[in-house]
């Protein structure tokens, strides 16, 4: 956990220092590393028969989480931003 935070902060500080001085293709490097990591995730799943058989189950759970987190966040935001507007009006 500490390493995660330090690396992220290190990158952010380096970015602040370099801001406006150099143009780095951070977007491209990020995309390439994401692609590499997800390719490896694909390799892990593809080489594991048990995981391959679990794909429908993973899909169902993923759909449940996607719909529930989306609905949860929009419901709370609706409730809290509407109350705020009423306070402003009062």
């Amino acid at each position: 956990m500490l390493i995660t935070i330090l690396i992220l902060l290190g990158g952010f500080l380096a970015g602040l220092l370099l801001q406006g001085r150099v143009k780095l293709p951070t977007g491209v490097i990020t995309l390439v590393s994401i692609c590499l990591l997800l390719f490896i995730l694909g390799l892990e799943i593809g080489s594991n028969r048990q995981l391959l058989g679990n794909l429908p189950s993973m899909g169902l759970i993923a759909l449940l989480v996607a719909v529930c987190t989306l609905l949860g966040s929009v419901t709370l935001t609706k409730f809290l931003t509407r109350r705020k507007k009423e306070e402003h009006g009062a």
């Binding site: 995660t4 951070t26 590499l36 694909g42 593809g46 993973m58 993923a62 996607a66 529930c68 949860g72």
Partner: protein, 207 residues
């Protein structure tokens, strides 16, 4: 959208290569994942730090919407809890734990980062769920943005997109909520992008 297709394409390519039996034996996948993850994290930080528009964007945000990222985080986690109850109902032996569901929910649409984190910490089963769940969240937001705007108000389109409200779902926010919401949307996505690694690793540390 183009980047999303490339990313998902890489994942599918990996599955196909392995299923076809083209994977070389003895690849240090774990090490590559760890170092790739460090590189990715550094780049995410670097990209955010180098973004000259960031501090200007923050100044344009009305004070009342500063807390919006918090609503999204709490709402998503409550939704994740509901999803876990549904999983409990469906499966006699649930394949995921409450912590797994919480960690997956903390991706807030940031499917790439949350899935590679969970691959290292919890293995490919949970990582794939994180990839699919957070990718679906982004797609559902893009598809249903007009409905969300109608039923839940202009700020909710931003919340629905989660961390992606600063890039992929930003056009949907502008189109449905209006130009005035662009700054809030970018700020919201930025805060959540930074929050994802922290909150996901927080749940991982609880295992």
């Amino acid at each position: 959208m183009r980047d999303s297709l490339i990313i998902v394409g890489c994942f599918i390519a990996g599955v196909i290569v392995a299923v076809a039996g083209f994977m070389p034996e003895g690849l240090p996948l774990g090490d590559i994942t760890t170092w790739g993850l460090y590189l990715l994290l550094f780049c995410v930080g670097l990209g955010l730090g180098m973004d000259e528009t960031f501090f200007r964007t923050v100044k344009e945000i009305p004070l009342s919407s500063l807390l919006l990222p918090l609503y999204t985080v709490v709402g998503s986690l409550l939704g994740g809890l509901a999803a876990w109850f549904l999983v409990e109902l469906i499966y006699s032996t649930p394949p995921v734990t409450l912590l797994d569901t919480a960690a997956v929910s903390s991706g807030f649409g940031y499917y790439s980062l949350s899935s590679v984190f969970l691959d290292e910490a919890r293995g490919p089963f949970i990582a794939t769920i994180a990839l699919a769940a957070n990718l679906l969240r982004e797609l559902l937001t893009l598809l249903f943005a007009p409905l969300i705007r109608k039923g839940f108000g202009p700020f909710s389109v931003i919340s629905a997109g989660g961390a992606t409200s600063m890039d992929t779902t930003l056009p949907a926010v502008v189109a449905n909520s209006g130009n005035a919401y662009a700054a809030v949307s970018v700020y919201h996505g930025f805060v959540l992008t930074v929050a994802v690694p922290f909150i996901v690793t927080f749940f991982i540390s609880l295992y």
